[in-house]
Symmetry: D2
Subunit: 324 residues, 4 copies
């Protein structure tokens, strides 16, 4: 095992709140451990194009509280080709970078796996995505902030729904995963939550809406964007079935990605950043650092990206019980 | 002039943050002045249907910090007919209600004007709408909260725009008025603001976007929904003209209505609520209480609803100067 | 085992955000399971004085987003006496209440244990306290909101500290526990965190402050109120040692208790509320429902209140590594 | 009149949210008008010590949303001496800086007046202070953000006060001015507001507290720090008079200075920044740019700092009326 002296960190895929806290942790833990740390701009694209800059402790001062990523992020078509990855490796060699920390989601880790295979470079991953759709960590960096943004938005919509006795269909993010929908649904007292993992039973929903009519003036239905139906279709179906309802649709969209990270996301990113650097020094590679039951755990990339649709049954039950 | 002993308050039109502060102020100022105060549910609809309840000081405790309206609001088709208004008047007579305070926008005041004409009942209006589109007041109740909600959302979007070097088109509320767009645009450093009052000059926008390319990685264009083009059309046009841009659209929608009112909206609603009651006692009617240059002023309904498109030239200039 | 038909819920001890979500969950899960649910006002005091009201599904509508507790809370001297508890039991018998859910902290569970012993009444507890100082649950209801409030406040203080090159000592809540201090310290990039569990090493702190001088203009030191020294003493000591520093003290105080609960606190309270009711129905008693590694677990009261000072070593290490 | 080619901007006195928006506006309006713009670090101190850096459009990108001031601020003892001001002038001459924009409060403008007198340099001021204690502008930059921070904090305290039936004394900023106290008091439904401009009538307060007992479980009394009595004394007096009350004190302190500026503060700072630059170009000097009734107005420094204690009588009346 080669001794690690120089490392680089990058963020890739969609931006997520807490990525900056993660970058800061990697940079400072690196320096604390006597390493030189570089920052790569625009994810793998910057690796291919040689956009790599030295980072010192001060370069990450006062970023822990900011959304987005100071290193920027992008999806790189070139890195998907062997030629691209070769150029990336050459840039790394030029700067004598011994190892990488990559912060992102499944696409990021798939790319990293390939890069390790072909060029034998140690890489540790950190789960940075609002979708919480990775195995090997209880929560991904950015998820807690995103669901709080959703809750904040839906609380506002509830004010209007209550004032007008309206039914709102609110579409939230989550292409393959209903986790944002489910937790924000419970938190906002949603009358129903539609997620990609579970086939929608419109009859049941309509019955429940009818049954709860006397308890609640307003109704909120949360729909994950990944749901085949999508917010627009769901809103139309409800209008059809309840022509007397004043139905409105709200697609929360891009506001779910940004914003100051929550305490949980900052702590998570800080812990995993330190663990990633210490993992590399200890000889780890090809693994994602995650937090399981409060403890740092490392999971091979191939396993981390195989998120199972194991929606917590208890959470779906709770939506039903509490939407009385 | 008949002595006023019993008054009622209602909220009408779209809900706006600060309406509860307004209701609270009317109820407490009424009681403070020895009046009995009633609350009418669901705007003019509740007047027609006799949904009128007595309010005491406690009934409005701890509502000043809440969005929406505890009295609820609705658009009443029945009140638009003479028969509806007659029923409303009979309900008022039954409870010996001498005067009304109505909180809402131009539709609310148009209805009130008709009601006064036909049934000779004193009514004072309070400007409750997020659109800030009424003459006779510098700001309407709800406007300050709404623009802060927009600013908060666009700040979040800016994080993502910066991280991905993207251009975002953000559609905000304002059917006939660009005021939400204009102030939130200045506040978020938007590169362009498109409003219904001013014909869009795409050439100028495209030139400015080109010119500022070196200073800013991200770009935000704010579009008022009222703009004939609308956010979708604008986004498409920019994509056409800048095929190399990563253009995204975000329609903020209903989150702009709700939420805890800002300090300014609470103070405004509180002052106007007290002024409305004192105005009624002093014999005023058919007027809207507003705040102009820090002082309460009363403006006849007919004048208040004639909002001129007098977009502050300085504000549009400032968008251009600062989007360098 | 007697079949449970009627239950009551109360909140006790200091208020915590999420208590309302917990009350709502108990009431609705009770109704969902065919029970009658009562609410007790002002904690054990209301039990002693018979302030017990029936709750229906509507009575808890739209409270999930609110801080504090609609049932109110108090510390009851009378319930600490046998006479008081006897009166409480008689009130319970009068209404044929078969079981209780109590939401609070260690004092609440100590009282409950005594009550069970003497009067053989089934009670399940829910951990409602911002201090996170109970065994048997990874987090208590209110803790996540409180630390986010602290982080929000310290972010604001950081703005001023940065602008003036100042050192701020910030005192946060936590009489016996440094958990609020530790997590908020990591999240705000605090240069040092002083907690009751660990003896303060001023020399080390002074050295670290000196060492990091070139990287950071501002410095934040978080002190848990429980620390023997307290914020005032710490600030004085630093002033003595660093006479050239512009040292300021901020005691966050009571703002840490209130506010809209975060998503995590709402989900936690909702899950534990449902679990508590189902636990009572299943014959459980004398236990606290908690969430450990994402799953509901029941822990005997006697064990739950024996919170060990097992401060996560990793967290204290991380403060040091990242405050470079 | 000399043509202005190079200008510099600085922030001085206590930091205020919106100062960054003001810096950005000065820099970009300068560049827009063909000027070179410099930034001075640490207020007048940086002028004395020559900490002056060139600013381009990009240097102020993405700062509009941040609290504090990127130029930092300080109170300069040296600038209070003639020698200090002479050194400052020499530094200005060296860089051929023709004019200054200074953002701050009365101390800032007093220094500027002296500097103009002695060295004949054009200076325009911008009102940057949370205290809103300057004549010549309806609101100062930072005031709106500060009062919203106070309102947010007191809303949280209200949750606890309601839950425990407590009386809270909350001390807010405002050494010579009760404006923060007054507006935040109205906005939070405070039962009483104590300000330096008005002698405290304890008898009246005690009577009002007694009278409103049946309507409100909780009570909030807002005290401006400038009040001779101060929060601690007030809390003690109330405890004496109402021994049965559970009285608590909360001193909000430094959290009131920082934070993301509100929309209003950003627009205000943006407008005044543009106006300051245009004012200098038009030959103005020795004046503060302010916003009066929505229009930019210039007021001589000597007049701007003579803030009269003209507390709006209406606001104090409203506290009393609405605290029923």
């Amino acid at each position: 095992m080669k001794t690690i002296k120089n490392i680089a960190v990058l963020t890739s895929g969609g931006d997520a709140p807490g990525m900056n806290a993660g970058i800061r942790a990697v940079v400072r833990a690196g320096i604390y451990n006597g390493l030189n740390v570089f920052g790569v701009k625009r994810g793998y694209d910057g690796l291919v194009n040689g956009e790599i800059v030295p980072m010192d402790a001060k370069s990450v001062a006062n970023i822990i509280q900011r959304g987005g990523t100071i290193l920027k992020t992008a999806r790189s078509d070139e890195f998907r080709t062997y030629e691209g990855r070769k150029k990336a490796f050459e840039n790394i060699q030029k700067l004598e970078i011994d190892a990488l920390v990559v912060i992102g989601g499944d696409g990021t880790f798939t790319g990293a796996s390939k890069f390790i295979e072909e060029f034998d470079i140690p890489i540790i991953g950190m789960p940075g995505t609002i979708d919480n759709d990775l195995a090997g960590t209880d929560f991904t960096i950015g998820y807690d902030t995103a669901i709080n943004t959703v809750v904040d938005a839906v609380d506002k919509i509830r004010d209007t729904a209550e004032s007008h006795d309206r039914l709102f269909v609110v579409e939230v993010m989550g292409r393959d995963s209903g986790l944002i929908a489910l937790r924000s649904g419970i938190s906002t007292g949603a009358e129903a939550v539609l997620i990609p993992e579970i086939k929608v039973d419109y009859d049941a929903i309509m019955k429940r809406l009818d049954k709860t009519r006397k308890n609640k003036a307003s109704r909120i239905i949360i729909v994950a964007e990944g749901d085949k139906e999508g917010g627009i279709v769901v809103a139309d179906k409800i209008k059809e079935n309840f022509p007397h309802y004043d139905v409105r649709l709200s697609i929360l969209g891009h506001i779910q990605r940004g914003g100051r990270p929550t305490c949980m996301d900052r702590v998570l990113a800080s812990r995993l950043g330190v663990a990633s650097v210490e993992g590399l020094i200890a000889g780890r590679r090809g693994e994602m650092a995650g937090l399981i039951c409060g403890e740092v755990q490392f999971t091979p990339f191939k396993k981390a990206i195989k998120h199972l649709d194991d929606i917590n049954e208890n959470l779906t039950r709770i939506v039903e019980i509490l939407s009385l």
